[in-house]
């Protein structure tokens, strides 16, 4: 090596070593800045990467009957879902859309292209996600046509005075019963994912629901390599007794759009969370729901949970409900009523049973009923209505609390009690049925041809009941007796009159909600002079009092109100609130809440006087010529009251009431209301058959079988 080379070599090795050192320090500096200076930021991002907050379902409370039979429970079920954030993003540099390919593969795994049923089910779920408009637009912009069905939808509107009212609006909704081709499903799925991405893109979007365990595992295996696809557990509500207690239990469905704000205020975060939409499921929604838990889980890059890092909040299971209802009694009532409806061809009917001492509801049947399980598998409000909409008898309607009917002679319990309490009659006052009575025309009192005729039911059968006291009057259900008692007769006696009739009607709980713990109860007005003047611009007449005293005219009530009014007689003068849920318990069966029977103040009637009303009901079952001797039960004394209520279902097309018989008489509802044992009542039964005909012959057997079952078959 010459000197110059040696010099160069020295310079070189210095330069090389300096370069090495410089590079090393640059790297260390960069590492320091990434790991130490910005460490916290990156650690946060790493946490965002791996951690997801996941809602955990709180198991919904179970509903038991009085004997611990399960009426509503949760069945495990699975949901196939995609998480938008975890789907492969579309790489703009390739011609293919990676996200679409992934969704296409998912649909292929689910066999949506070969299995029409699968295609329908996926379309249904997409409909829930997108709603009517979006669903339709998406499918149509994918170049496919939809068929539609016309349904009436309830829409919240404002009336002239700015109040919010529900209005039924005929609406076209897509017919989902035909499978969509795969292109349509793909478009829907992409749309749902796009919407999901706008919100919280980590929230899974369900693609297919109600998947059983076996199928779920199969899909989980087949989609293992599909990024963003998850199989989630989601319990589904199950009602083992199906339509037996449909109206009592109600059903679940996604939060109705009309009430979305209300639920949001109550802390419901997921707009598709199933909530009770009817029955006890609705009334006790918040208790049954519990509180969903939150879990912090670690996920890998495919969005799969690897482990739970932290349980932010344990799910609080919903409370269980213990009902006073006896499902065995319910079954007896259901079967008996169904049989009677079938025999007479009556469209619908109601059977109710309650403990008159505390209002504990023992049974509620409203026919036609429905199998509430179909709603667990259902489609949201619009289609829920559709499922049963085709049935003109409107099975969703709970006639026991939602139907207003003239109570007919069952109302005589009110007029009789009122008359005794107000000293219109004494228990020993006798009035005589000599045939139809004529009430002189108010304006032409001297013209007998203008007089109004009032008959009793027995006159049509050419029977006269002659003279009787209140006991026989009730037992024979003589109308003449009650005309006198309610409206009096000129120059002969003073009746209760409209004010006192209205007063006692109110005292018996009419005109107000009974307060039963079910949604959808309606209330009627109590007709009185002021009401008539305001609504009909006419003054109250004695004839109105006549009609009112036998539960006709403008008197209306629900079967539940008739039940409560019967209980008043049975329990010695107390209005009780009917109640299904007696207590709520937690999962360890610890009592959380117990119902305190709500019993009103005793009616202002001397118990000694009320006893005569009871005796009248006893007479109807047990006395000579009683109206309801068929409701007797071996070994038990039953007291009862029949009711036959003329009604007019006005049809605007014929401008008259429908279903008149050949003589032009109006059709009748059949009522029967009873309690037992007469000496120490523990059960009240009310049966109502719409258009069931005269004489309560349709209704009585239902009550008889109910009472018989209660006292014999169901007694331990």
């Amino acid at each position: 090596m010459d000197e110059r080379t040696a010099h160069t070599a020295t310079t070189t090795s210095i330069v090389v070593r300096l370069t090495l050192a410089a590079t090393f320090f640059v790297f260390c500096f960069r590492l320091y800045s990434l790991q130490i200076v910005s460490g916290a930021t990156y650690q946060e991002q790493a946490a965002v990467n791996r951690l997801r907050e996941i809602d955990t379902y709180a198991p919904r409370g179970v509903i038991y009957d009085r004997n611990g039979e399960i009426l509503a429970r949760n069945r495990p079920s699975f949901v196939i879902a995609v998480t938008p954030a975890d789907l492969p993003p579309d790489d703009l540099n390739t011609d293919i859309d990676e996200q679409r390919v992934a969704l296409e593969r998912l649909l292929a795994v689910l066999e949506a292209n070969t299995d029409p049923e699968m295609a329908i089910r996926i379309a249904e779920v997409m409909f829930l996600h997108l709603g009517r408009e979006d669903f339709r637009n998406t499918v149509e912009s994918a170049g496919l046509s939809l068929s539609f069905r016309l349904v009436d939808l309830e829409v919240l509107k404002q009336d002239d005075e700015g109040r919010e009212i529900l209005e039924e609006v005929p609406t076209l909704i897509p017919d989902l019963s035909e499978p969509l081709p795969i292109g349509g499903l793909l478009a829907l799925l992409e749309r749902a994912v796009a919407i999901g991405t706008q919100g919280s893109s980590y929230k899974p979007i369900s693609v297919l629901e109600l998947v059983d365990r076996e199928r779920a595992f199969q899909v989980a295996e087949e989609t293992y390599q599909l990024r963003g696809v998850q199989v989630l557990q989601k319990p589904v509500r199950e009602y083992p007794y199906r339509e037996l207690a449909g109206h009592v239990l109600g059903f679940l469905g996604p939060i109705p759009k009309l009430a979305a704000d209300n639920y949001t205020d109550r802390g419901y975060e997921d707009p598709n969370e199933p909530v009770g939409l009817n029955g006890l499921e609705y009334t006790y929604q918040d208790s049954l729901r519990g509180l969903p838990g939150k879990r912090l889980v670690e996920v890998d890059i495919l969005g799969r949970e690897s482990r739970t890092v932290n349980i932010v909040r344990e799910p609080e299971p919903g409370l269980n409900l213990n009902l006073s209802l006896d499902i065995r009694l319910q079954e007896v009532m259901h079967n008996a009523l169904a049989r009677q409806l079938e025999e007479t061809g009556a469209p619908h009917g109601v059977a109710l049973a309650m403990d008159p001492r505390n209002g504990a509801m023992l049974g509620l049947v409203s026919l036609p009923s429905y199998d509430n399980n179909i709603f667990s598998e259902g489609l949201g409000e619009e289609y829920q209505a559709l499922e049963v909409e085709d049935d003109t008898r409107r099975p969703l309607y709970n006639y026991a609390i939602g139907g207003l009917y003239p109570p007919g002679s069952t109302f005589k319990l009110v007029s009789a009690t009122g008359a005794l309490a107000e000293n219109v009659i004494t228990p020993y006052t006798t009035l005589v049925d000599r045939g139809p009575i004529f009430l002189p025309n108010f304006f032409f009192p001297d013209d007998p041809t203008q007089a109004q005729q009032f008959v009793s039911w027995n006159h049509k059968l050419n029977i006269l009941h002659g003279s009787m006291t209140i006991v026989e009057g009730l037992g024979l259900s003589n109308d003449i007796f009650f005309y006198y008692l309610g409206g009096g007769y000129p120059d002969f006696m003073v009746g209760l009159g409209s004010e006192r009739l209205a007063k006692w009607m109110r005292l018996f709980g009419y005109g107000e909600l009974t307060g039963v713990d079910l949604p959808g109860e309606v209330q009627a007005f109590v007709p009185d002079e002021q009401w008539k003047r305001l609504t009909k611009a006419e003054s109250w007449t004695t004839g109105d009092s006549y009609n009112m005293s036998i539960g006709q005219g403008d008197v209306l009530g629900t079967p539940m109100q008739v039940l409560v009014s019967t209980a008043v007689v049975a329990n010695g003068g107390y209005v009780v609130k009917p109640q299904f849920v007696q207590e709520t318990v937690d999962t360890q069966n610890r009592l959380q809440w117990q119902y305190e029977p709500e019993i009103g103040e005793r009616l202002p009637v001397d118990p000694g006087l009320l006893a005569f009303v009871q005796k009248g009901m006893w007479h109807a079952v047990n006395g000579p010529y009683g109206t309801s001797i068929d409701s007797r039960v071996d070994g038990i004394t039953v007291a009862g009251k029949t009711g036959t209520a003329e009604f007019c279902a006005y049809d605007p097309e014929i401008q008259d009431c429908t279903d008149r018989d050949h003589e032009g008489n109006l059709p009748f509802h059949a009522w029967y209301t009873a309690y037992a044992p007469y000496e120490d009542p523990e059960i009240v039964v009310t049966v109502f058959v719409y258009s069931g005909g005269e004489g309560s012959t349709v209704a009585i057997p239902v009550a008889q079988e109910t009472l018989h079952a209660w006292f014999h078959d169901l007694r331990p």
Binding site: L20, F24, C28, L31, Q35, A46, N49, R50, N93
Partner: protein
């Protein structure tokens, strides 16, 4: 002779290989298809160590005789690739030898180092004269051109870096350097037009990550992994970015990020220290070398290891664009590891013979 075997260098290399095996395990054990990679890497390390010792025992001076055949072999294999090579994922880089496909450029690095070391030491005194300089540049541009059209930008740049380092070290006049720069600047517009799309794209992504979110994803995930490490790291096999697979190609190109996440700042600086110590040790061998040929071979090896380290770590730290270059001794991969060990073996061969007469 054995006395001069550079033991610190050897043990540092083995230590790095050991860390590489551990990090490969951490990066792959949770993936069923890759679960045995750490065992494979262990085997590669043993093979590499044998190759290292064998190369050390081999007298590097015999390589001088092989310099010209090396060049011919290099050109022949590159031409063969150009004419009949296998095309894989858009690049023609492989030769089908019936048994297996080989990538001639992997060995080409050594062939080029040997040839250049020979040329530059042979014409050591004349390299300051332009014709000799131009001669080596022309001889260099032929293989570089063939590698460039494969296309393999990474390898082209690697070869150019090694060659450039060796040429500069041999002593080039400042005027010639300036001339070279000027020529390079003049050729740039032409070269630019020949850049493959993927090359341009990688540079664009590096300059503007927002232009392609999906491609920038991995770079971002690498940064998150590194930052996630903090001072002492999340612990071996405990890094969330690594274990939950947010980091892609984690056992090869991004093993540095795995280390940074799991070993933290302190551990990573230690590993970097080891790497640079190895290079430092190689530079020391070059200084000790008894002849210019040995010196240049050692510096060629040092340049190779340094360049790969620089590019890979730079990519992981997002101060350089993404290239598929492995981290010497640490990244998973048999051919890369064995060739690096052979390279170190060559340097050992030089240092073992740095005394003209060894009486020990």
């Amino acid at each position: 002779m054995i006395r001069h075997f550079d033991r610190p260098l050897f043990f540092c290399v083995l230590l790095l290989c050991g860390i590489g095996i551990a990090m490969t395990y951490s990066a792959t054990f949770s993936t069923i298809a890759l679960a045995d990679y750490w065992q494979r890497q262990l085997v590669f390390t043993i093979l590499g160590a044998i190759a290292l010792v064998t190369a050390a025992l081999f007298d590097y001076r015999h390589l001088e005789l092989l310099a010209q055949p090396s060049y011919i072999l290099l050109m022949a294999s590159l031409l063969a690739v150009y004419l009949v090579g296998e095309v894989k994922s858009g690049a023609q880089r492989w030769l089908n030898l019936g048994v297996t496909d080989v990538q001639p450029t992997e060995a080409g690095k050594f062939l080029l180092i040997v040839f250049l070391a020979w040329y530059l030491s042979r014409f050591q005194d004349r390299i300051r004269r332009l014709p000799y300089l131009l001669g080596v540049i022309v001889l260099l541009l032929l293989p570089l051109g063939l590698v460039y059209v494969q296309p393999d930008l990474g390898m082209t740049v690697t070869l150019a870096f090694i060659s450039g380092t060796l040429i500069l070290i041999s002593g080039v006049r400042l005027l010639h350097i300036l001339l070279g720069l000027a020529a390079g600047a003049a050729a740039w517009p032409i070269l630019r037009g020949t850049l493959q799309d993927y090359m341009v794209e990688r540079i664009e992504i590096f300059l503007d990550p927002g232009s392609n979110p999906d491609a920038a994803f991995n770079v971002q995930q690498a940064l998150i992994s590194i930052g996630n490490g903090g001072w002492i790291g999340m612990g071996w096999a405990e890094g969330s970015q690594n274990q939950l697979h947010f980091l892609r190609v984690r056992h090869t190109d991004f093993i540095f990020s795995v280390m940074a996440e799991e070993l933290g700042f302190i551990g990573t600086v230690m590993v970097l220290l080891l790497l640079f110590f190895v290079i430092w040790r190689l530079v020391r061998i070059a200084d000790l070398a008894q002849d210019q040929f040995g010196r240049l071979i050692t510096l060629g090896v040092a340049a190779l290891i340094f360049f790969q380290t620089f590019v890979n770590v730079g990519m992981n730290l997002a101060i350089l664009p993404v290239t598929g270059m492995t981290l010497p001794f640490l990244s998973y991969g048999g051919s890369s590891l064995v060739s690096m060990m052979v390279a170190v073996g060559l340097a050992q061969s030089v240092v073992m013979r740095h005394r003209k007469m060894d009486f020990a």
